[in-house]
Amino acid sequence: MVDDLYKALADPTRRAILDELTERSGQTLFEICSRLSVRRQFDMSRQAVSQHLAVLEAAGLVETRREGRYKFHDLNTAPLRHIAERWIRADGPEGNP
């Protein structure tokens, strides 16, 4: 799961998807594709975007939510805490000799 997280973050398209979901959570695939192509100039097919979303979902960074006929993608930043807990010291930089 943690390896999936690093793999998911290693790609610029996937980081862009996370940036766009940070701006507004709960997006359809259509909105994500529109944002990537018009606002970010990423030139890729809907299928390619779906595959990137699947990688993000496997890493737990994106969750999909169905409401009747609607399907939305939400951002989940909780897995990023693994990174913070692994390397960031809680006592801060000034607490050390």
């Binding site: 507004r24 997006q27 359809t28 695939l29 259509f30 909105e31 944002r35 606002r39 006929r69 609607y70």
Partner: protein, 128 residues
């Protein structure tokens, strides 16, 4: 050549006529009985002689899987031009319309996507 007619598949023509006229604000243009269904079109009050939108029955078996797949991915069936997407979003949401995409500046245009309650997502668009 110019565009005379476009169409959307609707689950129920009566409900579609209500939504497209009372909520979206189009005008009924043509209503001709055709067996169980009707040739039912609406036009924009801003251009009553302009292109007509056919509210076409969705009974053909190919329609449901096609529309369900578009709907699931949030893809609009068609797009309508408005003067101000933010104002139209506020007006329609006040009438209980569900949006799957709130107004978003997308380069030269602003867009939003709403549920027409008849099986389709509709994009509204204006110059940004």
């Amino acid at each position: 050549m110019k565009i005379h007619l476009s169409s959307v598949f609707v689950d129920d023509q009566d409900e579609a006529l209500r939504f497209y006229t009372e909520v979206l604000g189009f005008l009924k243009k043509t209503e001709v009985p055709l067996g169980e269904d009707r040739w039912l079109t609406v036009v924009s009050p801003e251009d009553p002689e302009g292109p007509e939108l056919l509210l076409e029955p969705a009974g053909h078996p190919a329609v449901k899987p096609f529309r369900d797949a578009l709907f699931e991915d949030g893809i609009p069936a068609t797009a309508f031009a408005v003067r101000d997407v933010h104002a139209e979003f506020a007006r329609l949401r006040g009438l209980g319309v569900r949006f799957t995409q709130e107004p978003l500046e997308m380069g030269p245009v602003t867009t939003a996507v709403l549920d027409d309650t008849c099986g389709n997502l509709i994009q509204i668009v204006a110059a940004a």
